[in-house]
């Protein structure tokens, strides 16, 4: 097993989410004034999941079903309220590619910044450097600050760095829809390649064709609960036929 998720729940307090940040005055006031009732809601409820080595598993569900929350917990961005998870390998989390790019820095500098943010060492980046800029098709502009890049170039560079990270476990959230058609195809091929090389992948997507194409197995989250876990065609069919 590469990913083991045990009884994970994530609770949010709604009123706190609205405020998101409290001021000092508000929290001092909270001590004296009767607390406004905080509505609790579960973004994830008692999720159990095991993913084996080399599996590519799709995650589908309506907005607010908890797909991204699950990915964020596995990426260690946020913590579960209850439950444990164990990951048996280097994790590459691509909730949003290119997070951490700095517009004032050159392409070259951003490769090292973003690469090490993902978890690569500098020597590893140096080793893959040529391949990264070749794949991204930005050789000519590598000494230019990326604020002068087109958005397409930006995304290509980000994806290229991420794709060369080669983690054992890949967590993807709708990042496939990047760049022009040509580059999209290249990305899809790269993902296939990663999946075929024994990488374990979780793929969150709203695009059922993409899920059917890449994942043999799919799980369906509904209002934070794991509604179905099985073969992709069966799960997708059930999901599309489901009317809440």
């Amino acid at each position: 097993m590469m990913i083991v998720v045990e009884n994970i729940s994530k609770k949010y307090k709604v009123s706190r989410q609205d405020l998101s940040l409290k001021t000092l005055r508000e929290s001092v006031a909270d001590v004296f004034v009767k607390k406004t009732k905080e509505k609790e809601f579960y973004s994830l409820k008692d999720i159990n999941l095991q993913v084996g080595k080399g599996e590519t598993v799709g995650i589908i569900g309506h907005n607010g079903a908890g797909k991204t929350t699950l990915l964020k917990i596995l990426s260690q961005i946020t913590y579960p309220t209850v439950g444990n998870a164990f990951l048996y390998g280097r994790v590459g989390s691509l909730i949003e590619i290119g997070a951490g790019f700095h517009p004032e820095l050159t392409g070259h500098e951003n490769i090292f910044l973003y690469g090490s943010l993902l978890g690569m060492s500098h020597s590893e980046i140096k080793r893959k450097y040529e391949r990264i800029i070749y794949f991204a098709e930005v050789e000519k502009f590598i000494k230019t600050p990326i604020k002068f890049y087109s958005s397409g170039m930006n995304i290509r560079l980000a994806f290229s760095i991420a794709a060369h990270f080669e983690p054992e476990i890949l967590l993807l959230d709708e990042v496939l829809a990047v760049g022009d058609m040509n580059f999209q195809e290249k990305c899809v091929q790269k993902i296939d390649e990663l999946a075929n090389n024994g990488h374990t992948t979780l793929l969150v997507s709203h695009d059922m064709d993409r899920i059917l194409k890449h994942c043999k197995r799919t799980i369906w989250l509904n209002k934070g609960e794991l509604k179905m876990d099985g073969k992709s065609d069966e799960v997708v069919e059930a999901f599309l036929g489901f009317d809440d």
Binding site: L21, I77, I95, L117
Partner: protein, 295 residues
């Protein structure tokens, strides 16, 4: 021959099972609770190149976009030096054992500017990077820590100017200068503790961000930077005595100018550092868990 081969084969398969059992230890464990000391040390070591990247980024950004570039690192300490020398030099001459005021004040100004910039940058580091924190995991301590380290370049430039000033005024340099790195490390740890504390508090309370510049401004006057502690009336000398920066700044002067060592103050500084770093760690570990949810 065949026997040998099968032997190696079985050996290698033994090795393989041993390896897979080692692989069975999770690489990443996710629990709802973190131990109070768990800053994710292992991950910090594994991802140490990221710290380097952050430091390089901070340094590049500070100097690249400005017209005068690196000159700012020189102007920044020289401007207050000039102002303070013009205004205060005649007041404190009787306390200074014949040391020119410009040298005296610069010995305090260089560590103070480093400290206040470092606390300011690191104190805002989490809220500045809120976008990043919600998108990807990395050891969060790298954010305040990189500000502290990147500020070291300013300190080095300032220190170079200080040495120039010492020679210019004919004060000379003794072998005691070798203690400066030690004092600098103390200053860095102190700044990191306070900066990390402010960074985590400003995640939970918005106001803290506005409070910080005010506190730092006040700090300049409560620290013997522009005046010697001895110049204060005795009834209020306790203020500089309990100030954690006094032990560093007074000893910086002792080391460079040959004034008396302030051992008591150094002890007080060490006690502050022990307490503050301990508290800062507990608070930071607690807060970093929720940072992505709050921001």
């Amino acid at each position: 021959m065949e026997d040998n081969l099968s032997k190696t084969l079985s050996l290698s398969s033994d090795k393989k099972t041993a390896m897979t059992s080692a692989e069975n230890k999770p690489y990443i464990k996710i629990y709802p609770d973190k131990k109070w000391y768990d800053l994710d040390w292992k991950r910090m070591w594994r991802q140490r190149d990221l710290l380097k990247s952050f430091v390089l980024r901070d340094i590049r950004l500070r100097y690249r976009q400005t017209l005068l570039g690196v000159l700012w690192a020189i102007i920044q300490p020289l401007a207050p030096l000039l102002i303070f020398t013009l205004i205060f030099s005649r007041f404190f001459s009787e306390f200074n054992q014949g040391i020119p005021y410009a040298v005296f004040v610069f010995c305090g100004l260089v560590p103070w500017l480093y400290f206040s910039n470092a606390v300011n940058q690191s104190g805002n580091s989490l809220s500045h990077h809120s976008y990043l924190i919600g998108k990807i995991y990395f050891p969060r301590l790298f954010l305040p820590l990189s500000s502290i380290i990147a500020g070291g370049l300013d300190f080095l430039v300032g220190f170079g100017l200080l040495i120039f000033l010492l020679l210019f005024y004919g004060v000379g340099i003794s072998v005691n200068i070798l203690f400066v790195p030690f004092l600098w490390v103390l200053l860095g740890i102190l700044a990191l503790s306070i900066g990390a504390l402010f960074a985590s508090l400003s995640v939970v309370f918005r106001d803290v961000k506005n409070l910080l510049p005010f506190i730092l401004q006040l700090g300049l006057f409560l620290t013997p930077v522009i005046y010697p502690s001895k110049a204060l009336p005795e009834s209020v000398q306790w203020i500089t005595k309990i100030n954690p920066l006094t032990g560093i700044i007074e000893n910086m002067r002792a080391v460079l100018l040959g004034t008396d060592f302030a051992w008591t103050e150094l002890g007080i500084t060490l006690i502050w550092i022990a307490c503050l770093s301990f508290i800062a760690m507990i608070v930071f570990v607690r807060v970093q868990k929720y940072t992505a949810d709050y921001i």
